[in-house]
């Protein structure tokens, strides 16, 4: 147990490969904002579905490279800071390594399993294989041609969860995304939680990450907002729509960050 500021300052270094995961649910926005406040640079950001918090990190010049499979504002449209970086190199050029969801999900699972690569039936046809890191191998048993993607092994995995107990065992439920795989695949991990409880309650569909696979647990109430925490608060759909306007213009974007991220007091 530590503060988010201390955890991010000590566990994330400039140049690291960092995955802040969440599949629309439990997205670690508070931790992303801490990366911005601490001025982290040259990060390789990894995320299946980079959305608003990655748009903010990219627009603030924290990222050198993005490994991803779908980069948009879900249900709304484009990420304008991501587009500006790719199309115009603002505030700096952004290298892309693009995958499919199936490929990235498999690559996280391989990382969690300490395997060098994942195998799947995918990436067939189409132009993506020419633009990304994928190989095709022959099944040793059937001869079927299958895709192989390198395992994802981030330096730091960051996820948000509903709660932890006092020993740091973390519990999350609802849509689980690739959070478990991210923590297990990463060399170091940070979990932000809505609250610390005396004892974790059994819940249908919940998973528990034992305290000994997590490096830092930090309390960050509403730490997923504008994403949501199932059982705590709902998704702020209005904010996702507003972000479309805020992020279109560079000055308006910077003003928003100044007011809501850099100007905000950290826990």
């Amino acid at each position: 147990m530590t503060t988010l500021r201390e955890a991010v300052a000590s566990l994330v270094h400039d140049g690291d490969t960092v995955a802040l995961e969440g599949f629309t649910h439990l997205i670690p926005h508070a931790a992303g904002h801490e990366l911005i406040r601490l001025g982290k640079r040259d990060l390789t950001l990894v995320r299946m579905t980079p959305d608003v918090v990655y748009d903010q990190l990219i627009g603030m010049g924290c990222a050198r490279k993005l490994v991803f499979s779908w980069g948009g504002n879900p249900g709304v449209g484009s990420l304008h800071r991501l587009r500006d970086a790719v199309e115009h190199g603002w505030p700096q050029p952004l290298e892309l390594e693009e995958h499919s969801h199936a490929g990235m999900a498999a690559a996280y699972a391989a990382g969690a399993a300490n395997l060098p690569f994942a195998v799947l039936r995918g990436y067939s046809g189409g132009d993506l294989p020419q633009q990304t890191r994928v190989a095709f191998i022959e099944c040793p048993f059937t001869g079927e041609r299958l895709a192989a993607v390198r395992a994802l092994r981030p330096d730091v995995g960051i996820v948000h969860a509903q709660c932890a107990d006092r020993r740091g065992n973390v519990q999350l439920w609802g849509i689980l995304g690739v959070q478990k795989e991210t923590v297990l695949a990463s060399a170091r991990s940070i979990v932000t939680v809505e609250e610390v409880v005396d004892e974790l309650e059994p819940r249908p569909g919940a998973i528990v990450l034992p305290h000994w696979v997590v490096d830092a647990v930090c309390v960050a109430p509403r730490g997923a907002h504008p994403s949501y925490a199932h059982g705590y608060y709902g998704r702020d759909n209005r904010f996702y729509r507003e972000w479309d306007e805020i992020s279109r213009d560079r000055d308006r974007f910077r003003a928003w960050i100044d007011e809501h991220v850099l100007g905000a007091v950290t826990a």
Partner: protein, 225 residues
Amino acid sequence: MAIEAARRLSNDTVCFVGIGLPSTAANLARRTHAPDCVLVYESGTIGAKPTELPLSIGDGELAETADSVVSVPEMFAYWLQGGRIDVGFLGAAQIDKHGNLNSTVIGSYDSPTVRLPGGGGAPEIATSCKDVFVMLRQSPRTFVERLDFTTSVGDRVRVVITDLGILEPVDGELTLVATHPGVSADDARAATGWDLRVADDLRQTRAPTEDELDALRSLRQKGEG
């Protein structure tokens, strides 16, 4: 468009649904003639039964109403790759006459004029679902002779539902087989960037019924709330 897509889903269809028109179509089918149609959202919810249209594929109501919630690696490995999905819906920024789709870039990959969100689940949806339904508004910018980038392949595309009508592959080429009421074959040709084939027995789609329109309105009203 949503109504035409909904009509193609039956009570025992398992469909992989994205946000927007596909989600509207699948929920409409569930509210009308196919109450047991199974909605699978790629966020991991299997058998979701939302009462309102979600904004994102990970909205909380999808998990609350689902028969089962699985992790994303499991969704793609066991359920999609496992061959358990009948119908996958796709949209795109561009389509060609073979049903290949582009949702990656406009312009060149290395210096695009428009960087689109990317393929997401599309490459494997296009090759793992038994049938692929495409929903797209028809215009010469969207229906192109040559894609800027092929995100997913058209081998399993069975139907393309547009705001003007219905296209189906005939001998490997998308062919206009029906138009919506008030739309002519020439309207559809003018909105297509290649020389569009038109079926000899061109049909007209059935006008929406009152039941369909009521169900659609009720879903939309709630979704906007």
